[in-house]
Amino acid sequence: MIPVAKEVGSLRAIASGGIVSPTGNPELPQEKEKQFRRELVLRALKTLQQEV
C-alpha cells in the first residue's frame, strides 16, 4: 500500500509484512518472526532519520 501512503502525502513509508500482519509473518516460526519484526522496526527508525 506504499502508493496509497504517498498519494496522501506520507512520504516516509516502508513495505510491511502484509495487510493482515503488518509487523509479523505468521508463516515464520516465532523466534524468526520476532527477528523479522525487529529488522522492520529498525528500518522504520532509520527512515525517520532520512531526508524526504
Binding site: 500500500m1 496509497v4 509487523t23 527508525l45
Partner: protein, 350 residues
C-alpha cells in the same frame, strides 16, 4: 451496425463470489462469461457488447503482489481478445478501488484497449488513477450498483467504438484534469460576474475551477540523533484493549482510542484485540505485536537504540474512513503526541 464489443470484467474475491475478507489472499482467476454484478453489466451492454469473461483476484493478494497479479490477469484477458475492460464498481473499498484503477491503467497501456473503472470519488484508488483512466463515480455504497454499471457500460462502449466522450458531469465520470478548448458565449469577466451575482442571490452556480481535495502536508524534518528520540506507536488497524472500552468503530471511524502501555512489554493475545472491518484480524488477534510492534520496540528501548517509547498507543479502525474524519483523527492524535514531547512516530497500517 457496429460489431459486438467484447468485454472482460474485473472483480475482487467478494464480488466474484469466492469469499469475504478471509479470502482476500486468493490469487488471480478467470471464468468465462459474467459472474455476480457481471450479469447486470451484460444487461446494460445489451446487444452492443458481450461479457466474454470475468477476471478476479483477492484484494490483499493484488495489493501485495501487484505487478505479478496484473501480468496474470492481463494474460487471462488478452486470451479472450477483448475490446474493453470494465473494473468494479468498488464503491468505497480502498484496496478494491486501487486494484480496479491499476488493472484499467495496465489494460490501456499494455493491451491498448479501452477501460472503465467504477468507485466512489473519495476512494483512494480514484485519487491515484483518475487522471489516467475513466472512473465512473459509484457513490460509497452498493445501493447504486445497477445505475453505475449502466453508466460504465455506456461510457465503455463509446470508448471502445472511438466515439467522442462528453464532459465528466454529462457522462458521469470523475474529472481527469483534462482541459479542452471550447467556445463560450460570454467572455471570462462576464461569466465571473454572473457567478458572483448567482452566489449573492443564493442561486446555484458552477465554478470553472475545481479546488484540490488533499491539502497536502509538509514532511517533518528528519530525526537526527535517535538517542534523544521519543517514539510513539500509532495504528489504523484497530488495536483495542480487551472489551474495546472506548468503543471505537470497526469501520467508518469517527474516533480513536488511547491505550496505556507504560508498564507493558508485549501485547498479549488475551489482553488486546483488533477491531476492524476491512481486513481479516485472525493473525493480529493471535499475536497483536503483528499489528503494533510493542515487544521489539520495548527491547530496542532497553538497548538504548532510542531514548524512550511513548507511554500510549493511539489506534483507530481505518476501514472506509471518510477523508474529513480521518484528517481530524490524525490531527487530534498528532496534537496529543506533540504536546507529550514525542519526536517520531511509527504508524502501522493494514
Amino acid at each position: 451496425m457496429n460489431k459486438k464489443i467484447r468485454v472482460v470484467h474485473y472483480l475482487n474475491q467478494f464480488f466474484a463470489q469466492i469469499g469475504a475478507e478471509e479470502k482476500g489472499d486468493a490469487g488471480p482467476g478467470v471464468k468465462e462469461g459474467p459472474i455476480g454484478p457481471g450479469r447486470a453489466l451484460q444487461q446494460a451492454l445489451g446487444e452492443n457488447g458481450k461479457v466474454v469473461a470475468s477476471i478476479f483476484c483477492g484484494d490483499n493478494y493484488f495489493a501485495e503482489n501487484q505487478d505479478e497479479a496484473i501480468d496474470v490477469l492481463l494474460r487471462f484477458a488478452a486470451e479472450r481478445k477483448p475490446d474493453l475492460l470494465i473494473a468494479g464498481p468498488a464503491f468505497e473499498s480502498g484496496r478494491y478501488g486501487v486494484a480496479c484503477g491499476a488493472i484499467c491503467q495496465a489494460a490501456q497501456q499494455k493491451l491498448r484497449i479501452a477501460a472503465v473503472a467504477g468507485m466512489d470519488e473519495d476512494n483512494v484508488g480514484a485519487g491515484l488513477h483518475r487522471k489516467s483512466i475513466y472512473i465512473v463515480n459509484s457513490g460509497p455504497t452498493i445501493a447504486r450498483m445497477v445505475p453505475t454499471l449502466q453508466r460504465m457500460a455506456t461510457l465503455g462502449l463509446k470508448l471502445a467504438q472511438n466515439q467522442p466522450i462528453g464532459k465528466p458531469d454529462e457522462e458521469g465520470y470523475l474529472s481527469r484534469g483534462v482541459k479542452r478548448n471550447e467556445f463560450a458565449a460570454k467572455p471570462p469577466a462576464e461569466r465571473a460576474v454572473d457567478m458572483l451575482l448567482a452566489k449573492l442571490r443564493g442561486d446555484e452556480f458552477k465554478s470553472e475551477i475545481a479546488p484540490p481535495k488533499f491539502a497536502g502536508s509538509k514532511p517533518a524534518a528528519p530525526l537526527g540523533d535517535l538517542s534523544r528520540a521519543v517514539i510513539a506507536l500509532v495504528t489504523d488497524g484497530g488495536l483495542v484493549p480487551e472489551g474495546n472500552p472506548d468503543k471505537i468503530e470497526p469501520g467508518r471511524p469517527t474516533r480513536f482510542t488511547t491505550i496505556p502501555i507504560a508498564d507493558v512489554n508485549t501485547l498479549d493475545a488475551d489482553k488486546y484485540d483488533a477491531v476492524h472491518s476491512g481486513y481479516d484480524t485472525a493473525f493480529t488477534n493471535q499475536d497483536p505485536n503483528r499489528l503494533v510492534p510493542l515487544d521489539v520496540m520495548r527491547e530496542l528501548e532497553h538497548e538504548g537504540k532510542f531514548a524512550k517509547l511513548h507511554e500510549f498507543v493511539h489506534s483507530t479502525g481505518g476501514a472506509h474512513a471518510a477523508v474529513d474524519n480521518a484528517t481530524r483523527i490524525g490531527q487530534e492524535i498528532a496534537q496529543r503526541l506533540k504536546t507529550a514531547g514525542v519526536t517520531g512516530v511509527i504508524l502501522t497500517s493494514t
